[in-house]
Amino acid sequence: MLDLALEYILLIMVAAFFAGIIGSMAGLGGGVLIVPFLTLYFHVPISLAIGASIISVIATSSGSASAYVKDKMSNIRVGTFLVLFTTSGAIAGAFLEHIAPTNIIYLVFGSVLLISVVPLLKKIGEVNQSSSVKNDPIAERLSLNSHYHNIELGKEVDYNVAGIKSGSAMMLVAGILSGLLGIGSGVFKVIAMDTFMKLPIKVSTTTSNFMIGMTAAASAGIYFFNGDVNPFIAAPVAIGVLIGAVLGARLLIKTKGSTVRMVFAIVIVVVAIEMLLNGVGIRL
């Protein structure tokens, strides 16, 4: 009989492992990949699936952070500054939960995501940040600009940080969405850093990885104390995602920016479809 439990736990662990790899490379928590899998394949009730998803977000964040210790890829200064907006947005979103029309919000942001794939794909051939990107005055004052190892050029490359105001505003929106819809909103964070702040794609996904852990920690307590984090589901998810995220982070270091961009674009489409389905009342 226990073989059955072992099999069940191993299956979830393997699925979580792949979600961890993809999540850590694309800069999101893997919740969007894990929730439909748990509910459709394992018939896990939606509240427990969301509880497991929040664990997956933090596991992706902490797991990949532990793998980046030697190779500095994420911009922690940018991340810490922007987390100000996502966490305060998340608290505001939690309070708005009862009055906001969530169906319309799902439809609007699902469509926004689909549209945002276009500018992302346009930049797919770019090897480096364009030299026309100037440092934002706020970025200058807080010395947010930095450098990273560019694998295409095979050397350290300096980059500037633009659009702090529009980027911060977008982070506030991403935070509100997290609190309101119970999603990690990593995709919106990556898009904000890529499109508005003009950061290199690998810096955007890894910095988003750092941020989603903090944002999820802001709302994790509610799910945990509420009893939505069920050990039977959450344990294999946590183990699988942690190992997957460490591996994904190691892989990312050696992956070309254009490949990361492709993976991210595919994930966006999946997320957008899920959001649109939620909007019309089909809950995966």
């Binding site: 736990i9 902490s62 532990s66 810490t80 966490t87 920690a217 307590g221 039977f232």
Partner: protein, 123 residues
């Protein structure tokens, strides 16, 4: 200091969860009221209603070596790891005398503590 924390916080929470899972699989008991396994799996885990999810009950269960309490302890450690990390960042910015970032990281830390405190009441 930060890299030490990042690696060890993951290793510790991961091993605590693994210990709990191994104990559950060898002894076959959650340490709490269990439902038959086939019903449990058919319900997607939804029928395991009895497991600790407050700090007091978790610690009480861990002392008695109940497998699901050990798992929950590991998960709780994982959930708290970002909060510990931002606290460590404050200390690093203090050491570097980086005033704007001492302020920014402190505000983030306080926001996280407030939301953790509020979550007890919302839940």
């Amino acid at each position: 200091m930060l890299s030490f924390y990042l690696i060890w916080s993951v290793l510790i929470s991961l091993s605590v969860i693994v210990i709990g899972v191994v104990e559950y699989l060898t002894i076959g008991s959650t340490g709490y009221v269990s439902v038959p396994l086939d019903i449990l799996i058919k319900s997607g885990g939804g029928s395991t209603v009895v497991f600790p999810h407050y700090l007091g009950t978790i610690i009480f269960g861990v002392v008695k070596l109940k497998s699901f309490a050990i798992i929950q302890l590991g998960i709780l450690l994982l959930l708290l790891s970002p909060i510990g990390r931002i606290f460590l960042q404050i200390l690093i910015y203090v050491k570097e005398k980086d005033r704007p970032f001492i302020a920014i990281a402190t505000v983030v830390f306080v926001i996280l503590l407030i939301s953790l405190y509020l979550s007890k009441y919302i839940a």
